[in-house]
């Protein structure tokens, strides 16, 4: 059995760990709040944008745009969006697993795959395993639309130049604080927009376009990509902090449990020491009185 001193030291160490995990939990909670707020603030923008895009798509006669062209997919690019920091439970692990599975499946079909890594964790994992052609790390703590624009522009140009044929985005969809779902979305070629959605009749108003509707669509589609990427970034950031919050909460309660077991053990050891000492004294006095 461990000595009293050892156990005492251990209790101290666990208590310190608990302090750290609780602090991390609180930091994550406040970051999560701001990430969630950002997400909520973005919702009207995304919603309005989709409204307009759909109504324009409905009215444009032929949807022809380089971003909509379907080619025989030989070369595939994948954007993998992880967090920059760890200690957030299975957040990154699950995503990386999903990405690996995806890459393996596509690899079996004989496709050529290149990876674009957003977030340090994904970069670190895939660096030596697959062909990582671009990376964006240490950006997620503070970002705005410009990050989404720069990510999107980096993939739009080579797609139009036909350097690759398909682009997938893999990110953690934010369901709620404790649930993030790894999701695979095909970005390019863009799935057709607005064709199958019924738009309410009052939105079918005929617009006056300035410039022409086709020019308009050509400008709207890249913006659509920006919106998609930005939303994924927001969900990643909210999900990361939500996951960290949950896992740090778990860690804190584990610490508490450990402390209570150790305290019990410590009390037993102390009692054992006292008993042993008492036995000694009793034994000593008895020996003296006999003497």
């Amino acid at each position: 059995m461990a000595s009293l001193k050892d156990i005492k030291r251990k209790v101290g160490a666990v208590a310190k760990t608990k302090q750290i995990t609780r602090a991390m939990n609180m930091v994550a909670a406040s970051k999560f709040k701001s990430a969630q707020l950002k997400m909520e603030n973005f919702r009207p923008y995304a919603g309005k944008f989709m409204d307009v895009l759909n109504s324009v798509a409905l009215r444009v006669e032929s949807m022809t745009h380089p971003l909509l062209t379907v080619r025989d997919p030989k070369k595939i690019r994948v954007i993998c969006m992880t967090s920059d920091r760890g200690l957030c439970g299975g957040f990154n692990t699950n995503l990386i697993k999903a990405t690996e599975r995806f890459i393996r499946e596509k690899g079996k079909e004989g496709k050529e795959i290149a990876l674009i890594s957003v977030g340090r964790k994904g970069r670190d994992y895939f660096r030596k395993k697959v062909n990582v052609i671009a990376q964006k790390v240490d950006l997620l703590s503070k970002f705005d639309m410009t990050l989404a624009v720069s990510i999107a522009d980096e993939v739009i140009t080579p797609f139009i130049k036909e350097e690759y044929d398909e682009l997938y985005l893999i990110y953690n969809q934010f369901v709620n604080v404790s649930v993030q779902k790894p999701t695979v979305v095909r970005l390019f070629p863009l799935p057709s927009i607005g064709q199958d959605t019924e738009v309410e009749s009052d939105k079918r108003l005929d617009y006056v376009y300035e410039p022409s509707d086709e020019v308009l669509l050509h400008k709207l589609l890249p913006m659509y990509v920006h919106v998609l990427v930005f939303r994924a970034l927001l969900e990643t950031s909210a999900g990361e902090n939500g996951a960290r919050m949950a896992s740090m909460d778990n860690a804190t309660s584990n610490c508490e449990e450990l402390i209570s077991t150790l305290t019990l053990k410590m009390n037993k050891a102390r009692q054992a020491a006292i008993t042993a000492e008492l036995m000694d004294i009793v034994g000593g006095t008895e020996a003296l009185s006999k003497g």
């Binding site: 923008y45 309005k48 307009v52 108003l205 300035e210 400008k219």
Partner: protein, 136 residues
């Protein structure tokens, strides 16, 4: 035809403005245009420039960045990357951005990838300065 005009200015970060106005002027890519109530449904892109609306006899100005504007019925929706109210513009920051952009532009040629980016940054900075100057 509706008898009121509602303006909504939305950026990815937040809903900048939403409310009833009498008139709004937007810097479109094909030229500035004003919207009064009962305007035809209309859709156009917004350029870097100055947007203002008139409400209860008072004009409020914004420095805006690219995006687009949609007019339907009695509603104007402006979706833009950034919008700053004239009195909230940080002039020092704008001045710094202008200096930085000018400095890097002098080292770049038109063929350079960065050229267009810096040129846009310069336009934005100048726009913000001129709007801030007007109303400070």
């Amino acid at each position: 035809m509706s008898d009121e005009l509602i303006l909504e200015v939305v950026t990815p970060e937040k809903m900048v403005f939403s409310g009833k106005v009498d008139e709004v002027t937007i810097p479109g890519t094909e030229g500035d245009f004003g919207v009064l109530r009962g305007h035809e449904p209309f859709l156009t892109f917004v350029d870097i420039g100055e947007l203002y609306y008139l409400a209860s006899g008072k004009k409020t100005y914004y420095a805006v960045n690219t995006g687009y504007a949609e007019v339907t019925g009695g509603k104007v929706t402006v979706l833009i990357e950034t919008a700053e109210r004239a009195d909230a513009i940080d002039k020092d920051r704008a001045n710094k951005a202008k200096e930085k952009a000018t400095a890097s532009l002098s080292q770049l040629t038109k063929e350079h990838d960065e050229y267009e980016k810096m040129h846009l940054a310069l336009t934005r900075a100048i726009n913000r300065i001129s709007i801030a100057d007007k109303f400070s």
